[in-house]
């Protein structure tokens, strides 16, 4: 039987392994956390105009455990533009890559609906993700071509360029995407394990009782869910407190009409209100195990009315649903069926 081979140790209706799928999205997040622990090598260069400034040497490692990432940011004054030439030099001082960054920084004030403030935007940084081909020492050479104000006039320099070099950077957006996608798949898996049933029957009644006869039984549990609502015959707010717990009665009979289970328990009655409406509600779930497949009748009854402190709450509706072949993640209390061998 599929359920017993997949299921937990003792109760075949308890399936624990699907819960482990919730750990899967943690794997990419753990990788993200570990990569954040790498302390990048910091570089600082003070660059006057027209002069080529070399950074301190740094190592770029070639490997598959993350990849090198170089980031540079030019600290420029507000409302200015910069043209910065950057070259990557290998251990022999040979230029292996050159690029130019056209950067800017702008700021201003805003006013809207009586409120005001300042804004600032900039694009004065660059990031270079690449592999060096083979591990070795490298240097950056930075040259300031232009530092201009809004009118195109040169601004006083030098400019401070800050850099960082890390050797084991990872693709953070891909890790976040992977975590979210895996979480969605895990939730579909949980739904496929705990949200499906072999058969489902629903009956809605205007009275405080409902009965369903159906073919049920076999692997898994049978789940009975009852939802009921009582209302006052008038629109006035209720006078008293919510009632005490109510008696719920369940009777299960088999194909021959023999009563296999007679169960009575007290269930909590909640007082709810919304937008001037008041009602009492009961929502309760019961689990049964029917080892043999057959025709069963489930009859459930709750009080027709409640009389509390001068209020009389009448039944509005009651809905009974029967779901066969349910699996659960945790052990639940199961009502014993007369004549059936009940392990729990």
């Amino acid at each position: 039987m599929g359920s017993s081979s997949l299921g937990g140790r003792r109760d075949p209706a308890v399936l624990l392994w699907p819960l482990a799928s919730l750990l899967l999205p943690l794997l990419p997040l753990m990788v993200l956390l570990v990569s954040a622990l790498e302390w990048p090598r910091r570089l600082v260069m003070v660059v006057p105009e027209g002069q080529r400034v070399l950074s301190a040497p740094f190592e770029l490692q070639d490997g598959w455990l993350g990849s090198p990432r170089l980031a540079l940011t030019a600290e420029i004054p507000p409302n200015s533009t910069i043209e910065l030439d950057v070259a990557l030099l290998d251990g022999n001082g040979r230029t292996v890559l050159t690029l130019t960054k056209d950067g800017w920084r702008a700021s201003g004030t805003w006013a809207e609906e009586g409120e005001s403030g300042t804004w600032e935007e900039d694009d004065a940084g660059l990031a270079l993700a690449m592999r060096p081909g083979q591990s070795g020492r490298f240097q950056l050479a930075v040259q300031l071509q232009d530092l201009l104000d809004e009118a195109g006039q040169p601004l006083p320099n030098p400019v401070v360029v800050r850099g960082s070099v890390s050797n084991h950077s990872v693709d953070a957006p891909l890790l976040w995407f992977t975590a979210l996608l895996t979480l969605a798949l895990a939730q579909v898996l949980l739904l496929a394990c705990y949200g499906v049933s072999r058969g489902r029957w629903v009956q809605r009644s205007q009275q405080a009782s409902a009965a369903i006869r159906c073919e049920a039984g076999g692997p898994g549990l049978l789940r009975l869910v009852v939802v009921a609502r009582w209302e006052l015959p008038h629109d006035n707010p209720p006078l008293g407190q919510p009632p005490d717990p109510a008696a719920l009665e369940l009777r299960v009979s088999d194909a021959q009409g023999r009563i296999r289970l007679q169960h009575r328990e007290m269930v909590a009655v909640a007082h709810r209100s919304n937008d001037g409406d008041h009602w009492l509600s009961v929502r309760h779930t019961l689990h049964l195990r029917l080892p043999e497949r057959g025709s069963y009748r489930f009859r459930l009854q709750l009080p027709e009315e409640f009389r509390v402190d001068g209020d009389t709450w009448d039944i509005e509706w009651l809905q009974l649903s029967v779901e066969d072949g349910r699996m659960t993640a945790w052990p639940v209390s199961v009502l014993p069926l007369d004549g059936a061998v009940e392990g729990r």
């Binding site: 599929g2 699907p18 800017w104 935007e121 694009d123 072949g325």
Partner: protein, 85 residues
């Protein structure tokens, strides 16, 4: 009928689990190893961020400098990769 349905459901669960494990494995390994990342000496250039122009590109393992560019950068062109060049 019931047994057949139960077996079919178990198959679906197995497929979902395998799919989730495959997605997490492929995504995480790709994010760490980054097999598509540009390697020094490889044809072309690394991916360029906004406002970045490479001074050349690799061809057959050699860095080939691009011809000098006209000075057409007028500043404040807004953000986005199409702002320069």
């Amino acid at each position: 009928m019931g047994r057949w349905r139960a077996a079919e459901m178990a198959d679906e669960r197995g497929v979902m689990l395998v799919l989730a494990v495959a997605v997490v494995a492929i995504g995480t390994v790709t994010a760490v190893t980054r097999p598509g990342l540009w390697r020094l000496g490889q044809d072309g250039t690394p991916a360029a961020g906004s406002g970045v122009r490479y001074g050349g590109s690799y061809r057959a393992g050699r860095w080939v400098a691009a011809p000098p560019r006209r000075q057409d950068w007028s500043g404040f062109q807004g953000r986005g990769p199409g702002s320069a060049k």
